[in-house]
Symmetry: C2
Subunit: 324 residues, 2 copies
Amino acid sequence: MKFAIGIDLGGTTIKGAVMDSNGVVTNVTRVPTEADKGAPRVMENIVALIGDLIKASGKTPQDFIGAGVCVPGFVDENGIVVGGGEQIKGWTGTDIYTPIKNKYGFNVSAANDVTAVALAELMYGAGRGVNNIVCFALGTGVGGGIVTDGKLYKGTHGMAAEIGHIVVETNGLPCNCGQYGCVERYASATGIVNMAKHIVQLGSGWDDCELCKLIKTEPDAVTCKLIYELAAKGDKLALRVNEDACEMLGRAIGILMNTMAPDRVILGGGVMMAGDIILNEVKKTSANYCWPAIYERCEIVRAQMEEDAGVMGAGALAFEAFGG
Amino acid sequence: MKFAIGIDLGGTTIKGAVMDSNGVVTNVTRVPTEADKGAPRVMENIVALIGDLIKASGKTPQDFIGAGVCVPGFVDENGIVVGGGEQIKGWTGTDIYTPIKNKYGFNVSAANDVTAVALAELMYGAGRGVNNIVCFALGTGVGGGIVTDGKLYKGTHGMAAEIGHIVVETNGLPCNCGQYGCVERYASATGIVNMAKHIVQLGSGWDDCELCKLIKTEPDAVTCKLIYELAAKGDKLALRVNEDACEMLGRAIGILMNTMAPDRVILGGGVMMAGDIILNEVKKTSANYCWPAIYERCEIVRAQMEEDAGVMGAGALAFEAFGG
């Protein structure tokens, strides 16, 4: 059995683990990122965590094929951060590979955190058995990852799969990225909550709905999770919001199907805790935005990666690059 | 020097040639497809043409690394046509590899014709020196091809890069594919001519324009080529049509940049005979539909493949698969 170290760098916590080639994760460990103390300190914390993981596992550095590191932002082919991850002071320009290599002699592979989860899905989750997948991460924002011909597709400078910023509505809602009508504005947790509030603001006829009452009395208590709990109970406004979100998500899925003709489109992230209500709806809406011949050969399924998605993505990076 | 046979199967003509590993094409030969006589006859014609090419080149089958075949429709990894190419009777289900292999002992690689041209651009044209490209073929319709990590990306069942059917306008013009607002409806030669006529139909104020007069007097004489000739002379309606076409094309380019983060987007096909007037305009419009960090790292350039694009794409398929 071969082993890799997987490191998932977040804005507040660095999560690390030992992963074997079957995707079994052990020794999960969390340390503070200390993002405010700047990029060199963050790298020191990563290096120290790797040391702790080696020790905790009872192995030597030679027992590992290397390390995978998932980070916010974009990483080029030399392991240099080229942008993004603004929550970490001085992150752009950081060399991820050298400090780890120097300390443990490890081969290192790094990539954007959301992108790398697609590789974990391919190797250990909902993408097993196929070669071409597109993954959506429906969370606070919408991110994604693409696997082509069995390999994680990073794109030039590691920037591929910014699929949350696919424009799906002409003259749509303004997005932080400067565009209008990005799918992220409609199908992220934030977008879904905002849409619900917007519908109440615009129109009448929703007063009977529990969701409407909540929006009017306790707007800050309205979360995406709550909206889907109400949708499950048949709340009309919540169901309408789901329809709108799935219309927009379906447009993005259709575009990606036409572009990539993947075997599977995999939907994950916190929003997908809602499950079938989204899955069933986007299966309908995406069909309107995709060539039938491609649509009928592509499955839309739910992601299987859960709380360890990040470290598994990181471990998968190492196995893809150095697993032999 | 190594050699391959390249076959470009069209609805009326099969074009074949010998190509060396530098992309130099010789012995270009055309024979009728005889599409109406059905798929087996078409395959016989391809096999015979390959024989003629070997003979004409003065080489033996052993001098070739194999053959590449570009076809209308979609080809799976076993060389079986899985759909498309309806102009050839009984085309779906056709085995492209076996008859050629049986006759000459050749390795064969086949792909969709438009898709394969992207590989020729990568190896011999506007994609040289980079690994990730997206190619648009702006012709009667809009097709495309994608190269990821230096390899032609065919997608599952060979159906990738149907980028002409990316929906770029909410509730837009109806497309033959059943969708509304496909970029093909706006940025193909057909789409451009239809848009010009549509603008004249809808609004006044164009009567001074030569293009408007032509549309009113000789509508059937209006071609995309003519529109761009008039645009070059400053015809206001022609310039407006170009702006509209480039707005829609820019949306699709922006979506593909966000998805693929390619090194280059390459624009080819008959419409691009117009050249810089399109290139300069889409550089502006696509910026509105793409993350700035990705946009600034991606070039939009004109294709270099010309009349031999198809056979060079076919030859490139052979060199990619069997060139060693």
